[in-house]
Symmetry: C3
Subunit: 210 residues, 3 copies
């Protein structure tokens, strides 16, 4: 099997989300296999959604055992080094951000390769990037991280739009992959460091639900 940069990014995102899933699961005191399963679902969630929506089945991790072995290995590493990793909360946050960045790009690229409209490709990128983390948070019964004030989605949409733009200018795709993945990652890191936030909207309501 020959590895394209697309595959490399996909694998990198898988590893990053596997670690992020394993750490979240350990934080919730799940047992050994619970940790494996959350790591697995977090890692394959985004790519699986991407493949199912586009009709690319069996989904990617079924056709290539590399993914499942990598998830296994990195889950074990996350378990062994859990306290070292955990103290470095920045690096944990970093894994989630790397997963977001690279999966966003694989989603956009899949859209473009299937000749979908650019704006659709951006939406597919955003869904691919965020779904692994969303499913991890839903399974752990937390409010999805996408809603915390970290401009998670914004970083992801800006990176995806940059991809489409550069692609239309004919830039070499390998260069685009790297530039746009880094764009997503750097925006998110900056946003958190400087506590930048987008406007939210006030509803003149007495209280609560409708």
């Amino acid at each position: 099997m020959e590895l394209s940069l697309f595959n490399v990014l996909d694998i990198l995102g898988t590893m990053a989300f596997a670690i992020s899933g394993a750490l979240t699961a350990m934080d919730r005191k799940l047992d050994l296999f619970g940790v494996f399963i959350i790591a697995f679902v977090t890692a394959i969630g985004g790519g699986t959604l991407r493949d199912v929506l586009i009709g690319n089945t069996p989904v990617i991790w079924m056709e290539n055992t590399l993914y499942i072995y990598l998830i296994g290995i990195f889950t074990i590493l996350a378990i062994i080094f859990r306290n070292k990793i955990y103290y470095l909360r920045r690096s944990l946050f970093l894994f989630d951000t790397i997963g977001l960045g690279v999966f966003t790009i694989t989603g956009v690229e899949t859209g473009i390769r299937n000749e979908l409209d650019p704006i659709i490709s951006v939406a597919l990128g955003a869904m691919t990037g965020t779904f692994g983390g969303v499913i991890r948070d839903i399974l752990c019964n937390e409010i999805p991280v996408i809603f915390r004030k970290e401009i998670y989605a914004t970083a992801c949409l800006i990176g995806a739009s940059a991809f489409v733009l550069l692609y239309n200018f004919g830039v070499n795709t390998d260069v685009i992959y790297i530039v746009t993945s880094l764009t997503v990652i750097i925006i998110r890191l900056l946003v958190v460091k400087y506590k930048i936030s987008l406007p939210s909207f006030h509803l003149n309501s007495g209280k609560g639900n409708f």
Copy 2:
């Protein structure tokens, strides 16, 4: 592109659910892109589930940019007129109900067009109609509205059954679309107005979970 009544209903449901998603997201104080994303997922959720289950991929919103532009426009309108809309809680509830009604019908119709059994088509209709709202509520960490005592599912199943019945009597499909969509919407409105509820069942339990 020629618009059939099927497409018109699909678009109407998309718009209604986009507004309902945007309002729910603003109520939860999400930021700008969070509002967009919840609006998007609520709007496309039902149709996406329908297409994935039937194997109609890439899913409908990927092949036709109309959906994403409409969601964008109606999300912006929902943001601008948020307080006007919000005060009219009835109209908010109405958007959710319209989405339910028309997506139920597009689900049933998809089932019939794919020559599925009538009862399967009804089930597909119910899942298509409810999934957008369910996913909106899960992402916003609320108990899905489907469980509040509004006979949400009942309205939807009655409308879907009416569709299959009328279809078997050979009624013109455009007439069926309109009659059954309105059936779902009117039943739900009546049920809420007159506080009709279906029986629920008492379990003789001391307490809690099993």
Copy 3:
């Protein structure tokens, strides 16, 4: 239609999960149709995920009305005998376990039949077995049962691995189905009876989320 042992197991799992879904929904005081819908989604969840991931669409319950009628009948039976069933918490727990056992095996078998790698087939089995219960719990806003300390996933992975092993030794598939389904069910029952648990991992954290 001729019934293979594969179909029989699939139907058995559907029935078991329908009852388990109906009981959970009644426990949450949902109305009549709410009970039906949770029963339906719990029962078809695992098989639907399996079919969607592998690209076997329309999914199995759409092509065969047997599933939907069985779910209807067993939901009604669960409603009628709700207090009798409920007092027997062991038998409730048993239904969930049966569903887990047989759906795990249908997932593994689907993987093998599609010539996927053994480890991928095991993963597909685990997802097929657990997804119905997970979606039931998410819709009822509970933490998925998969995380309670019952080695839910462990039973399921051991059974799935046994399937692959026996298959490679050329054992008759009908024998494998029965042996491995029972393996999953018996392990889970033993584990709960003797309160066996897998290690979980301590994170040296002051508190909470990251």
